[in-house]
């Protein structure tokens, strides 16, 4: 063995490892999709009416509250 000072490793390598940071993973699933939609909006920002852009911004503001709540919950260790 080139590492571990020559000790022979013990046990299974492909163990189950707990997926920590669960709230962040949930948020990732949500914001991945939102990011894609935002790109579609960002490309056409100049060509669409300002009122339509206002709707997207409103949507982002509405997402702000859940995002803040999720971030607050994600900082609690017991939710990991």
């Amino acid at each position: 063995m080139p590492f571990e000072s020559g000790q022979v490793p013990q046990g299974e390598a492909r163990k189950r490892i707990v997926m920590q940071y669960y709230p962040y993973l949930l948020m990732f699933v949500v914001f991945d999709v939102v990011g894609m939609f935002l790109f579609a909006w960002g490309i056409s920002f100049r060509s669409i009416a300002p009122s339509d852009s206002l709707l997207v911004l409103l949507f982002l503001f509405l997402l702000g509250a859940p995002l803040g709540y999720a971030l607050k919950m994600a900082l609690h260790r017991e939710n990991w």
């Binding site: 390598a13 492909r14 490892i17 920590q20 940071y21 914001f31 852009s53 911004l57 900082l75």
Partner: protein, 343 residues
């Protein structure tokens, strides 16, 4: 377009026509394969020298012929002739195949990177999304490699690589969104053309900072090199790689370094635009190397972050700053402040 040869006498002109065609030159020589290999070898040498100067390391400063140029070549020859050790019960096809896939994924995005007005292999209309799509496959490939090598340290490193993607990817996209809004296009050539009068680092400075930090996290550079944290995980996800496999993985990592510094150059630093006394590709490569320098320097300076701190910074700081810059961009564009620069 070159016609296929019909008689034996046509074969030589056919070959000449193919070799001198724009497609062949862009594929093989300039933005293509040979240029890529040369720059990657230069980057390995450059990083070694830079870190040696920062940390006052005697060995890397003086070893290896004139200026240490022979050292990368010696490393390459050594690694090619070393034995490839495959761990017991490892998944052999995946263990040997994933490094090749990594090199493929590292080289593929250069097809859409414009090194000059006409120095681009494929002028793709969704170039930016294409690059994000290809680079986001890296952590999954890393996890597959880590799983295939049947060892505990690589597996932990691969999992951390996935966690890291959760932390950096969304801020990266959102910060690129401001640039897309300013340029009004996902085509990388058009994004650079929109920066002829003003570089996007000026109207989207916050985005630039976020994108740069996310880039360092994506490249697994210090202070974000959690997947290969040496004190904890031996060498991280490539602990079990040796010989030629190790060399191939390093080739892929340096290709990715060059790719991401090119992307920062395109999105924020005006791509190939510069004073006219140098050709466009030279300006582009110089800017990309400067960005690469600033990506390399923290490796000799900063300690490593904790996993939970990285993910917390990604979501509570970087994402918020990137979103704030999107709002700033909306205000700038709708009030017409940037109209003087043609935006």
């Amino acid at each position: 377009m070159v016609n296929l040869p019909s008689t034996p006498a046509d074969i030589l002109p056919f070959i000449i026509a193919v070799v001198t065609s724009h497609t062949f030159i862009t594929l093989v020589f300039f933005p293509g394969f040979i240029h890529l290999v040369i720059v990657v070898m230069f980057l390995t040498w450059y990083e070694r020298k830079l870190l040696a100067r920062i940390q006052l390391r005697i060995g890397p400063l003086y070893a290896g012929g004139p200026g240490g140029i022979l050292q990368p070549i010696a490393d390459g020859v050594k690694l090619i002739f070393k034995e490839v050790m495959i761990p017991y019960k490892a998944d052999k096809p995946l263990f040997l195949g994933v490094p090749l896939a990594l090199v493929f994924l590292g080289a593929l995005p250069f097809a859409v990177i414009p090194f000059g007005q006409h120095w681009v292999i494929a002028n793709l209309d969704v170039g930016l999304v294409f690059i994000f799509a290809v680079t986001s496959l890296f952590p999954s490939m890393i996890l597959i490699f880590a799983w295939a090598s049947n060892s505990k340290y690589p597996f932990l490193g691969g999992l951390r690589s996935l966690f890291q993607q959760v932390a950096y990817e969304i801020p990266m996209w959102i910060s690129a969104l401001s640039v897309v809004m300013l340029a009004g296009s996902l085509n990388l050539v058009q994004i650079v053309n929109a920066q002829q009068k003003i570089w996007f680092i000026v109207p989207a400075f916050l985005s630039f900072i976020v994108f740069f930090i996310a880039t360092m996290a994506e490249l697994e550079r210090l202070p974000f090199d959690l997947p290969e944290a040496e004190p904890e995980l031996v060498a991280g996800w490539f602990t079990e790689s040796s010989g030629a496999i190790y060399m191939v993985i390093f080739l892929a990592l340096y290709m990715k370094l060059y790719l991401m510094s090119s992307l920062v150059t395109i999105l924020f630093l005006g791509g190939w635009w510069g004073p006219a006394f140098l050709p466009q590709p030279v300006w582009f490569i110089l800017k990309a190397l400067v960005v690469a320098t600033f990506i390399i320097i923290p490796r000799g300076v900063y300690p490593r972050l904790r996993v939970d701190l990285l993910i917390k910074i990604g979501w509570t700081r970087l994402l918020i700053i990137a979103l704030a810059n999107v709002f700033i961009t909306v205000v700038l564009l709708s009030t017409g402040v940037l109209a003087a620069w043609g935006l």
